[in-house]
C-alpha cells in the first residue's frame, strides 16, 4: 500500500482540495482498502503491450483529428459569462495575484 498520511496532504494540495483532519483520516482508511485491490494489477505481465486510450483502437486505427484553425463561433461573451461568480466589464474577477 503506497498511501501514507503525508501523501494525503500532498495529493490534496495538488488537487486543490482543503481536507479537514477527520476527512483526511477517513479518506486514508478508504483509500487503503481501495489500493489493496489496485495492487492486483502488479501481477499482470504487460511487457510489449501498448496502452489503450481510444477503445475502438483495438480493432481499427483511430487517429486524432485536427480541424481547420478558423473562427466557427460568434462572440457570445455575455451568455458565456452568465454563470460566472464574479464579472465586471466583461472580465472574470479573481483575487489579487500580483501586488
Amino acid at each position: 500500500m503506497p498511501f501514507t498520511s503525508s501523501d494525503i496532504g500532498r495529493i490534496a494540495k495538488l488537487a486543490r482540495l482543503a481536507l479537514t483532519e477527520p476527512q483526511r483520516t477517513c479518506m486514508l482508511e478508504q483509500l487503503h482498502g481501495f489500493f489493496d485491490i489496485v495492487e492486483q494489477m502488479n501481477a499482470v505481465d504487460t511487457t510489449g503491450i501498448e496502452p489503450l486510450a481510444h477503445p475502438t483502437a483495438v480493432i481499427d486505427q483511430v487517429s486524432l483529428r485536427l480541424r481547420p484553425d478558423q473562427v466557427s463561433e460568434s462572440n457570445q461573451r455575455e451568455v458565456n459569462q452568465q454563470s460566472a461568480p464574479a464579472v465586471e466589464r466583461g472580465l472574470f474577477l479573481v483575487p489579487r495575484v500580483i501586488e
Binding site: 482540495l17 482543503a18 503491450i49 477503445p55 475502438t56 480493432i59 454563470s83 479573481v94
Partner: protein
C-alpha cells in the same frame, strides 16, 4: 385504450400523429404527473414555458403533415447534458443554477427530431456512483420499492421511465450508469459503442469512457431514440467516430438470415462468460438470467461457454483510469468561469481550495484524490499506464470471445437494487458491485440491459447483452426478439401504472 402516461415512445408518436392527442396535451399531462410524483426525486428541473413552446412547435409540424418517430414525443434528459432551456447541475452543488449557453449535441438532435423536453433528471454527482445517493440534491427512490436505490448514475432517468413519468429518457454510461439503473428498475437501456454518440455538451467525467444512450421501456423505443442520437459530430467531439448514423428501428424488423417466425434467432450464438456466473452473483439474479437464456434457446439461439479471464481486474483498471480522467476534467471547476465560489478566502490558492471542497461531494473528492495520485510523479507508470495496458488486454479478450459467439450475455449486476444507505459509507462495496459492467466500458463495446424477471424482494433483474463494436443494431434486434416473446418489460411498479 391506454392512458397517455402508459404509452411508450412509438405508441405516443402514433397517438399524436393520428390526432388522438397532441404534443401539448401529452406534455401537460406528463408534467402534471411528474409533479404529482416529485417525492421520487427523479426530476431536478422543469421549465413549463419552454416545454410547451417545444410541444406547440411539434404540433405545428404535425399539422403541416410532417411525421417522425419522435415528433411530439415527451422526453427528459439526465442532468449531465447541458441545455439552454433548463439549468444543468450534473447533480453537484458546484454547478447549482448553472445555465449553459448551448445544447449538448444529443439534446439538439432529439429536439430537432421533434422531441419535447419535460425537464432534467437527477443523477449521481458528475455521474460518479451506482445508487444516485451521491447527488447533491437528494436521493432518488426506486419506484418498485421506495426504500431501495434506483441504481446510478442515471438513477433519475431510470426511476422516471419505470414510474411512467416519461416514455423515455437520455442517460450516460461510463462504467455501467445506463445498464445498472435500467436493470434495477426493470427498464431497457443501451450504451452504444464508445464514440457513437457525441460527447459535446456532456459534462465530462472520464472522457475515454463516457457515452450517451437511451433508456426506455422497450428495445424498440431505445432504437427510435438511438437512431436520432447517434452519428458523427466531427467538429465538436474529437473522439466522435466517423461512422454514419443507422436506422436502428429498421434493424429491429429485419429478420436474420435463415430464421423463421418461431425461431427468429436461429443461428445466433450467445456467449456466456464463466466469470459472470460464479459465486459472486446472487442466486436470485442468476435464476432470472438463466430463465431468460432458456427463452433465448426457444427462440433458436445457441448458448456457448466463453471466458473473459480479466473480469475481476476490470475493477482496479477502471477505478484507476476513470478517476485519473476525472481529476483532470474536474480541474476546470476553480470558481472563476462558472459554478460555485467560496464566500470567504484569503488569496487565489485559498479560493480554489475552499471553492472545490465546498462544491464537490465526498465521492467526487475521493475520486479526484485517487486520480491525482495515480497521475502524480513516480506513480504514473505503475498505476495509470499499467491500467491502460491491461485495458488493451481486456479489449482483446472480448475480440477473442467474439470469435466464438455473436452476442455475450450475463447479469448486469450481482444483486438486485440494494437498500438506501446500505452501502453509502462503503465506497469499495459500491465499486465491487460494478464488476459485470466495467469490462464492456473499458473495451468501449455496446451493452444493454433488458428486463429478465424478478429477484429478491420482488425487485427487477436485467439481462446484460454485449455486442461487438458498432453492433447496436444486432443487440437491439436480439433484445426486441426477446421482448416479443416475453412481457417482463411491460411490468410496471405497483402504484405507477394508473
Amino acid at each position: 385504450m391506454k392512458e397517455l402516461h402508459q404509452l411508450g415512445v412509438a405508441e405516443l408518436a402514433a397517438a399524436i400523429a393520428n390526432k388522438k392527442t397532441s404534443a401539448v396535451e401529452a406534455a401537460q399531462l406528463l408534467l402534471a404527473r411528474a409533479r404529482q410524483h416529485q417525492a421520487l426525486g427523479a426530476y431536478l428541473a422543469f421549465n413549463e414555458d419552454a416545454t410547451l413552446a417545444q410541444a406547440r412547435a411539434a404540433d405545428v409540424r404535425i399539422a403541416a403533415g410532417e411525421r417522425g418517430p419522435l415528433l411530439g414525443v415527451a422526453l427528459a434528459h439526465k442532468d449531465i447534458f447541458v441545455t439552454t432551456d433548463f439549468p444543468t447541475t450534473a447533480g453537484s452543488k458546484m454547478l447549482a443554477g448553472y445555465q449553459s449557453p448551448f445544447n449538448a449535441t444529443v439534446v439538439q438532435r432529439l429536439t430537432d427530431a421533434g422531441a419535447v423536453t419535460l425537464g432534467k433528471l437527477s443523477c449521481d454527482e458528475f455521474a460518479m456512483g451506482g445508487s444516485n445517493e451521491n447527488s447533491a440534491f437528494g436521493a432518488v427512490l426506486n419506484p418498485w420499492d421506495a426504500s431501495r436505490v434506483p441504481g446510478g448514475s442515471s438513477g433519475g432517468s431510470a426511476a422516471a421511465v419505470a414510474a411512467r413519468l416519461v416514455p423515455a429518457a437520455t442517460g450516460t454510461d461510463t462504467g455501467g450508469s445506463i445498464r445498472q439503473p435500467a436493470s434495477f428498475t426493470g427498464i431497457t437501456g443501451i450504451k452504444p459503442t464508445y464514440g457513437r454518440c457525441s460527447r459535446y455538451g456532456l459534462v465530462a467525467f472520464a472522457s475515454s469512457l463516457d457515452q450517451a444512450g437511451p433508456m426506455a421501456r422497450s428495445a424498440a423505443d431505445c432504437a427510435a431514440l438511438l437512431s436520432a442520437m447517434a452519428g458523427p459530430d466531427i467538429d465538436r467531439d474529437a473522439t466522435s467516430l466517423d461512422h454514419p448514423a443507422e436506422n436502428y428501428s429498421a434493424a429491429l424488423l429485419t429478420p436474420r438470415e435463415g430464421t423463421s417466425a418461431t425461431q427468429p434467432l436461429k443461428g445466433l450464438r450467445i456467449g456466456l462468460p464463466a466469470e459472470f456466473f460464479g459465486a459472486g452473483c446472487t442466486p436470485d439474479v442468476l435464476a432470472a438470467v438463466r430463465g431468460a437464456l432458456t427463452e433465448y434457446e426457444k427462440l433458436g439461439a445457441t448458448l456457448v461457454d466463453i471466458s473473459l479471464p480479466r473480469t475481476e481486474l476490470s475493477i482496479p483498471v477502471y477505478y484507476v483510469i476513470a478517476p485519473a480522467e476525472a481529476s483532470s476534467n474536474l480541474s476546470r471547476f476553480d470558481g472563476v468561469k462558472f459554478g460555485h465560489r467560496a464566500a470567504q478566502y484569503n488569496d487565489l490558492a485559498d479560493m480554489y481550495q475552499k471553492t472545490r471542497s465546498e462544491g464537490f461531494g465526498p465521492e467526487v473528492q475521493r475520486r479526484i484524490m485517487i486520480g491525482t495520485f495515480v497521475l502524480s510523479h513516480g506513480y504514473y507508470d505503475a498505476y495509470y499506464l499499467q491500467a491502460q495496458k491491461i485495458r488493451r488486454l481486456i479489449a482483446q479478450d472480448f475480440q477473442q470471445a467474439f470469435t466464438q459467439c455473436d452476442v455475450i450475455a450475463g447479469p448486469v449486476a450481482p444483486t438486485v437494487a440494494w437498500k438506501i444507505g446500505e452501502k453509502s459509507d462503503d465506497p469499495l462495496a459500491n465499486y465491487l458491485a460494478d464488476i459485470y459492467t466495467l469490462s464492456t466500458s473499458l473495451a468501449g463495446l455496446p451493452g444493454m440491459s433488458v428486463p429478465a424477471g424478478f429477484g429478491a424482494g420482488a425487485m427487477p433483474v436485467g439481462l446484460q447483452l454485449v455486442g461487438n463494436y458498432f453492433k447496436e443494431g444486432e443487440l437491439l434486434h436480439t433484445a426486441h426478439a426477446f421482448q416479443l416473446a416475453t412481457d417482463w418489460h411491460t411490468r410496471a411498479p405497483q402504484g405507477f401504472w394508473q
